[in-house]
């Protein structure tokens, strides 16, 4: 009897010790994790803090050694200057009409192409999917000269050229400095990083159960109707993932905009040319004004991300990009 009791007592003690040890290990692990994450997170956050810290700083505190992070007084004056130098309202309109519309078009067209690749079997399907992946690999810089020429002499199937030959004319369709160099590729599913988006959509559509679509077909819905009424409503997370990436990458685009936009300017172009703009406004080009301009440029997407991130990361998890 007593031996049994003893053994029980021992065991309880042992398990208690083990649990305590486990708890301690867990706690150490947690602390180590926080230190690690904070250390690396600092690198990322540093730039944001730096930006904010300078953006609200008055001129006279710029080189004040006593002001490290928090300015003693906060000012919004820099934003006023930056707002003017960037021509914010105008640039924002350009960004939206050139790039954001292009992003929306891309979100839709890529979904259509991916649906065709995911759900219908035809002989050349594999080849086409491989080519889609190839488009991700091609750097835009390789295409830039030829694309520029193409857009300044827009011509499909040589129609314009043959008209010119027949009538001996030399007119051309020049779409440089219009929205078309952005909208057209997006429309055809070869816009900014479209290959990646088609890939994401395809992976998701392939994982959807077929039964829903079959039911829709039996009820007499055509393929387009099935797509809009069945597929799109059930792929919210894939659509959200693609939307956020597409909007972000369009917003951050500098290369394409600098090539195809001549008279207007997107926010990134405006930021790049701010030094000249400030000179024209007879304003000083100081770090606090530069930083407030940077802050103004990323503010819309920052807000968008803050609002959407809760769903965003979860939806990437669910969208099965990675199979």
């Amino acid at each position: 009897m007593s031996i049994q009791d003893n053994a029980l007592e021992m065991e309880r003690k042992n398990s208690l010790q083990l649990r305590r040890k486990k708890k301690a290990v867990h706690l150490i692990g947690l602390i180590a994790r926080y230190i690690f994450l904070l250390l690396i997170g600092y690198v990322v956050l540093f730039q944001l803090f730096y930006m904010i810290s300078y953006a609200f700083r008055p001129d006279e505190q710029l080189y004040d050694p006593a002001v490290v992070w928090l300015p003693r007084t906060w000012t919004f004056e820099n934003f006023g200057t930056a707002f003017m130098a960037l021509d914010y309202a105008g640039s924002l309109m350009t960004t939206v009409s050139y790039l954001m519309v292009s992003a929306v078009i891309e979100i839709v067209s890529c979904a259509l192409v991916a649906y065709g690749l995911a759900r219908f079997k035809f002989p050349e399907q594999k080849l086409i999917f491989a080519l889609v992946l190839l488009t991700i690999l091609v750097p835009p810089q390789m295409l830039s000269v030829a694309s520029y020429v193409q857009f300044s002499h827009l011509d499909i199937l040589g129609i314009v050229q043959s008209i010119n030959k027949i009538f001996g004319t030399s007119w051309r369709i020049n779409v440089i400095d219009t929205v078309w160099p952005f909208w057209l590729p997006s429309l055809f599913g070869v816009g900014i990083r479209s290959g990646l988006f088609i890939f994401i959509y395809r992976q998701f559509f392939s994982s959807l159960p077929r039964e829903l679509e079959e039911a829709a077909w039996i009820d007499g819905a055509g393929s387009v109707r099935t797509f809009t009424n069945i597929i799109v409503p059930s792929s919210g997370s894939a659509v959200l993932t693609v939307s956020i990436f597409s909007i972000l990458w369009h917003w951050n685009d500098y290369y394409q905009s600098s090539m195809y936009i001549e008279t207007g300017k997107t926010l990134n172009l405006a930021l790049d040319r701010m030094t000249t703009a400030l000179k024209e406004l007879e304003q000083k080009n100081t770090p606090n004004i530069q930083m407030s301009a940077c802050f103004l440029v990323i503010l819309p997407v920052l807000l968008l991300y803050m609002i959407a991130q809760r769903w965003f990361i979860r939806s990437i998890e669910r969208s099965g990009i990675v199979g």
């Binding site: 490290v68 192409v113 810089q141």
Partner: protein
């Protein structure tokens, strides 16, 4: 009778599928294939602009000879770009794998951390980063003069205070700064890794626990092999984004040649050489990875 009808259905299905893909095929030929072929042709020709478009004059490999033997910095740029490609891609890969695993675990505040680690994707516009970096450099100079001001942790100073010799601390600081810089490219890979980790069924880890596997074994025999698809995707993504980045020296040089000197053929030759080398090397790398790393786990 029945068979024929079935074939009709299959054929109809094929055509519906083709209809969806048709717009992409047109776009691919028009906006990717044609420009790509044209830029390849440009690299073998002298290109002059006339009112009716481009006038080409065939010169063979002259431009390629020019960039290798006469252009002052192309070969240097090429080697530095390639060597940094092969050092930074593995570092980004490892860093984002570690961060992905840590961020995937349950702990209070992980949502906040995930938000933070995705921030680089938003902020890493070339223009904005250039501004911040140049400002930081200026601030560093002024803070050296006045002894104040905000700056990133001065790594060299910390190591100095720890009593390390100057040369060692400088070397360490260099590596740490490289890692900090590469942190900016980790945003998307981290998200991809988190997604990949989520797709591993929990029952596998439970089984491993029952069998008494250590954390180390669990990582190498479950997590890592199960992430092989994700890893390939991440590698492709990281490699591509490194390759197409505009601050890449080769791309930068080709762009300068194009913009400032308007020499299309030289620029095309520079890019095609780089593209060819990178494609060949990454094909080799992926073949080796596929053959000797991933196969072992399958």
């Amino acid at each position: 009778m029945k068979k024929r009808k079935q074939r009709g259905l299959v054929e109809r299905q094929q055509w519906t599928g083709r209809k969806f893909v048709l717009i992409w095929e047109i776009g691919f030929v028009w906006f990717i294939l044609l420009p790509l072929v044209k830029s390849f042709i440009y690299s073998f020709n002298n290109v002059r602009i006339t009112t009716s478009g481009f006038q080409l004059e065939f010169i063979g490999l002259e431009k390629y000879q020019f960039i290798f033997y006469e252009s002052p910095s192309y070969v240097d740029n090429l080697t530095s770009s390639l060597s940094s490609f092969f050092t930074s891609v593995p570092i980004i890969f490892a860093l984002s794998l570690i961060l992905g695993i840590v961020l995937n675990q349950e702990f209070p505040g992980r949502l906040a951390f995930r938000t933070i680690f995705f921030l680089p994707v938003i902020m890493s516009t070339g223009v904005i980063l250039d501004f911040i970096k140049s400002n930081e450099a200026a601030a560093m100079m002024s803070s050296m003069a006045t002894g104040g001001g905000a700056g990133l942790i001065n790594v060299v100073e910390i190591f100095d205070e720890m009593g390390l010799p100057q040369s060692v601390s400088e070397l360490l600081a260099k590596y740490i700064n490289t890692i900090f810089d590469l942190m900016w490219d980790c945003g998307v890979p981290i998200v991809l890794f988190i997604a990949g980790l989520q797709s591993i069924p929990a029952s596998m880890f439970e089984a491993a626990d029952v069998e008494g596997a250590t954390a180390w074994e669990r990582f190498w025999y479950i997590t890592f092999p199960m992430l092989s698809n994700t890893s390939v995707l991440v590698l492709v993504f990281v490699a591509i984004s490194f390759f197409v980045k505009s601050n890449n020296p080769v791309i930068d040089q080709a762009f300068t040649v194009l913009q400032e000197q308007q020499v299309y053929s030289t620029s095309a030759a520079m890019l095609w050489t780089y593209f060819g080398i990178v494609i060949a090397l990454s094909a080799l790398a992926f073949f080796l990875i596929d053959r000797f790393v991933l196969r072992r786990w399958r």
